[in-house]
Symmetry: C2
Subunit: 256 residues, 2 copies
């Protein structure tokens, strides 16, 4: 069994690592579209086209028989479209994250933060409302400065604290008890968020995707092959690859 | 005569506007590669490939007979390559900006700020050193948070002030007298920079490109046609288009 994981950039390597650890015999291919990162400020049409190209590469070139979309923005728009077009099981991060939020929220006051495109899609709101048996208070905030702050590795700086306050202070005032990190970059800001707002239960969608994959009945038999593909070189890619992908081979490719 | 102007996104529309005002009869085509913005954190190979694709579209599809690269990152890598490949005159923003910096600097202590890729290229340093008759003190700082702050229209916020101090304070301590804004987004931060560091002579490369074009002997005869192309939709595009392009027709295209 071979699975393909893709993300707009390098953030999804945390998902790759987590899947690789839980399913050691599974063949896993990762594609990071670093030449066109970020997706979060692009139009739905472009996000869908880029996602289809990523899935096509993993399925046609690598032989992936199932797809995991490790990017919240692509998950918000392209899960059904890819499943329909390629006739393979597709798992995004929105459903697992929403399920976990409903499990941990005591008061049903749930906030979702993400890129502008993820928030605009309303994907988390729709999933939460569909799955909840009680009425929820759902808040959605786009936090567009978080991605560059994380990419600059300034996650515990004065500028990070100022940005966290700017985007989350109104959520705290509204009595939110559960905060869904709807972007693969945001877990890097967990420590700063918890320091300023210790009352939030923080849900990291990428942490709960494993449970979702287990429940899906995914066959895990394979040769334990691992390979990473990126559409552009980047220094952070090399660093994270060593840390998160245990030296799996890397290839630079062109899409489409 | 038809001229093609391109940028990684919408920032170069200020250059488009300036050229359009100075050369009313010139035919001017603008291409903003909004589907792949930003260029500033990508590899030289990708920046060069994307720049060639933009130039090819303007030359082959629109009939442009000269190219203006309104993006500092693309100007830093692709001026000579495009001139050589397409055999047309190519004007970037690096040379005009460097000339102006040498004109206004009293002490020869010049700082250039830009994206990581622009700074890494050393393009401004090379231009300044080649053209100067005296020895210069040149400082180069990448300011990667400036672009997202500008795109979020937070140019006069506490977070903008914090970022400006973070990136420019050491330049002030070193006695820099001239600051080159080596990115089309940065002029939007002029007011905040001048408030905090009034001693800097600020050079905006896009302001001096006209003079460079006049000196180049560009023929300005044409029908005054104007057309804008973007590779993706974006709300800011629409707003800036009305403000900067006086309602010129817009088309969404695919590259390559």
């Amino acid at each position: 069994m071979a699975i393909g994981v893709f993300d707009s950039g390098i953030g999804g390597l945390t998902v790759f690592k987590s899947i690789a650890e839980h399913f050691p015999t599974l063949d896993i291919y990762y594609l990071g579209d670093t030449a066109r990162v970020p997706y979060g400020n692009k139009s739905p049409e472009t996000i869908i086209n880029y996602s289809i190209e990523c899935a096509r590469y993993l399925i046609s070139e690598c032989g992936a028989e199932a797809i995991v979309i490790a990017c919240n923005t692509a998950s918000s728009y392209a899960v059904d479209i890819i499943a329909d077009r390629f006739k393979v099981p597709v798992t995004g991060v929105v459903l697992p994250g929403s399920e976990q939020a409903l499990r941990v929220s005591k008061k049903g006051k749930i906030a979702v933060i993400g890129t502008r495109a993820t928030i605009r899609s309303g994907s988390y709101r729709a999933a939460l409302e569909t799955m909840s048996e009680i009425e929820l208070d759902i808040y959605e905030n786009a936090c567009p400065l978080f991605v560059p702050i994380v990419e600059e590795m300034m996650t515990e700086s004065p500028i990070a604290e100022l940005a966290v306050k700017m985007y989350l202070d109104d959520l705290s005032k509204k009595g939110v008890d559960t905060l869904v990190l709807g972007c693969t970059h945001y877990p890097m800001l967990k420590r700063t968020i918890s320091k300023l707002y210790p009352q939030f239960n923080i849900v990291d969608s990428s942490e709960v995707i494993i449970e979702h994959l287990i429940k899906s009945g995914l066959s895990t038999e394979g040769r334990g092959l691992r390979k990473l593909f990126f559409t552009d070189e980047s220094p952070a890619m090399e660093m994270l690859r060593n840390e998160l992908a245990a030296g799996a081979p890397v290839e630079i490719i062109s899409l489409p």
